[in-house]
Subunit: 332 residues, 2 copies
DNA sequence: TTGTACGCGTTATCAC
DNA sequence: GTGATAACGCGTACAA
């Protein structure tokens, strides 16, 4: 390092190599430089251990090479998978990932989105549990590209990865065929987007099969093991159901836990099924029959879509609908 | 917005409020401004929806207000807890969190650390599985503060959160007392730092109790469910052990899965114990007896230490040793 | 207390 | 193809 204060800059490299900063910059950014200079510059860069300062670059180029990922709750394995997918999708690009703080209330999400107006990220991958007009408005005003995952509807031409709505048709058809028409659905909170969508999916599925009368929905207060246990505990005639369909794998884990501690055998006495096919599915005993939405792949795609969009803002909007896939294991 | 291109700047606000940019800047940064100006500036800020551009601020102030968290594998629930803890620790500060890409090889970690030389983060929270001199060298040369979590030893005065080495003493003493001296230890890969430490901890613990002859260690190739299952499968006289001590909860989950699919009852036939007290511990059936190292709290503390260090580089170095705590549940 | 002016490190334009 | 130079948006030293 040349200077006493901090790291080497373009100027330091240029001075050492005896060229102008413009040439060094070009070299660093992969433009053509006369071969005779190339070696000297390369030398200087290595000697000084030069690395472009990201603030300087971001200020000038209006590009931070960062994207922001906002997930509701990193405790839920499906969001871990998506996070991992995003990381994988960013591999080979020079984009870094900011993980937005976990927030629950609409106000927090709002503040988070608005903070992006300070331009610390070039794009946003948004998964929101809450459905709030203020959030939609804020998102629409954001002047960076957005990719939404899940059924987040905003009035803006946005690349999106939705999940096809027929997961519960597949699941209910399977359970009905294998265990009969007494199916209990344990939903998550109905005020969340997945709660709404999956709740409606279940109602539609049992109506299509004409088995509304023998089925029932209960609601877990949260998408958590404890919530599910509580919901099942407070249920009167639980033992009359032959199968329990859960709104996600975490709730299914709660169901398994409840049945295990009440000496009820799965799937002999009651079958249990989840949604998401998270890591939990193979960790639990019995292993979980579930519906796969390929979370890692969705994360990967979201990252790729976002980077593409940043680099080519006028490309046609991509809307992918991910197809659900039944994964049969031991619990149902 | 005043300008056609992008967002409002200090200049726009200053012009609208009829003051100098210096006054606006001071106002934004919480310095005193004449009350008569205050209102006008505040007005202009709101009207233009001004938010300081982070690149400009970072370049000038030599401070990005970002920290970087490097964890080996977000699939492991203990790292999720730490991640969550870091997020919580950052609450109320204005620091954002970068989540470094998941890397396994020493080369990847090295590149990751070196990339911090481009100054996109003000500090680093480092958890590394691998123990490599090049990594240590790179970390030591880094000119931003570092907080290490776990037994990462670097030759640099660094705030650190280690875990006290007596977890395995507690665990082995407990298992020996409750289930006798036939204890099997399922370690993770010995070339990892936790593998080394926990392996040595087990050896020391059984030696202290004088039960080396009746105990045994096996190694899982990875810290994963599958690795543990494989390690147990290839073991000859597994049924002669009365308890299985696992190097972490994920390996314990693998043990439970192995025993469950082989109709071996836990804890009646064999007791199983983990380390970390992750979310898994209460999700699994039977619920997992384990050693708690308070991962969330460690994450929180690491974040706080790092922010403190950034703001006060010359403060005395903090080295915390977290005490293990036995959490008794159903598996042992 | 306020305003002017400089420079943080980079990219990009423009003459050469 | 190269080099001088002008921004990018901000914080702050300095002068008023």
């Amino acid at each position: 390092m040349d200077k006493t204060h901090g790291r080497a800059t373009l100027h330091d490299v240029a001075r050492k190599a005896g060229v102008s900063i413009a040439s060094v910059s070009r070299m660093v950014n992969g433009q053509t430089v006369r071969p005779s200079l190339e070696g000297r510059i390369q030398d200087a860069i290595e000697k000084l251990n030069y690395q472009a300062n990201s603030a300087g670059r971001a200020l000038r180029a209006r590009r931070t090479e960062q994207i922001c990922l906002s997930v509701p709750d990193i405790s839920n394995p499906v969001y871990q998978s998506i996070t991992k997918g995003v990381q994988l999708g960013l591999e080979g690009t020079n984009y870094r990932m900011m993980l937005a703080p976990q927030v629950s209330s609409a106000e927090d999400v709002l503040r988070q989105i608005n903070s992006l107006n300070s331009n610390y990220a070039d794009g946003l991958i948004l998964l929101s549990l809450v459905d709030d007009t203020r959030i939609k408005k804020a998102v629409e005003k954001l002047d960076i590209p957005i990719v939404t995952i899940g059924n987040v509807d905003i009035n803006r031409e946005t690349d999106s990865l939705k999940v096809a709505p027929n997961a519960l048709d597949i699941a209910v058809e399977y359970l009905n065929r294998k265990y009969g028409s007494r199916i209990l659905f344990v939903n998550g909170p109905k005020e969340t987007i997945p709660g709404k969508i999956r709740g409606a999916g279940f109602e539609r599925a049992i109506k299509n099969l004409g088995i509304e009368k023998t089925c029932k929905s209960v609601e877990s207060k949260t998408f958590s093991v404890e919530g599910a246990v509580e919901a099942l505990t407070s249920l009167a005639n639980l033992n009359s159901y032959k199968s329990v369909m859960c709104a996600n794998d975490v709730i299914a884990a709660g169901a398994l836990r409840y049945f295990s501690s009440n000496k009820i055998r799965v799937p002999e006495d009651v079958a249990v099924m989840g949604i998401d096919n998270t890591d939990l599915a193979t960790i639990l005993s019995p292993s979980l029959t579930t519906i796969d939405y390929n979370a890692i792949e969705r994360g990967k795609l979201a990252a790729k879509f976002l980077v593409d969009r940043i680099q080519n803002p006028s490309a046609p909007v991509k809307r992918i609908e991910v197809q659900p896939r039944l994964v049969e294991r031991d619990s149902a």
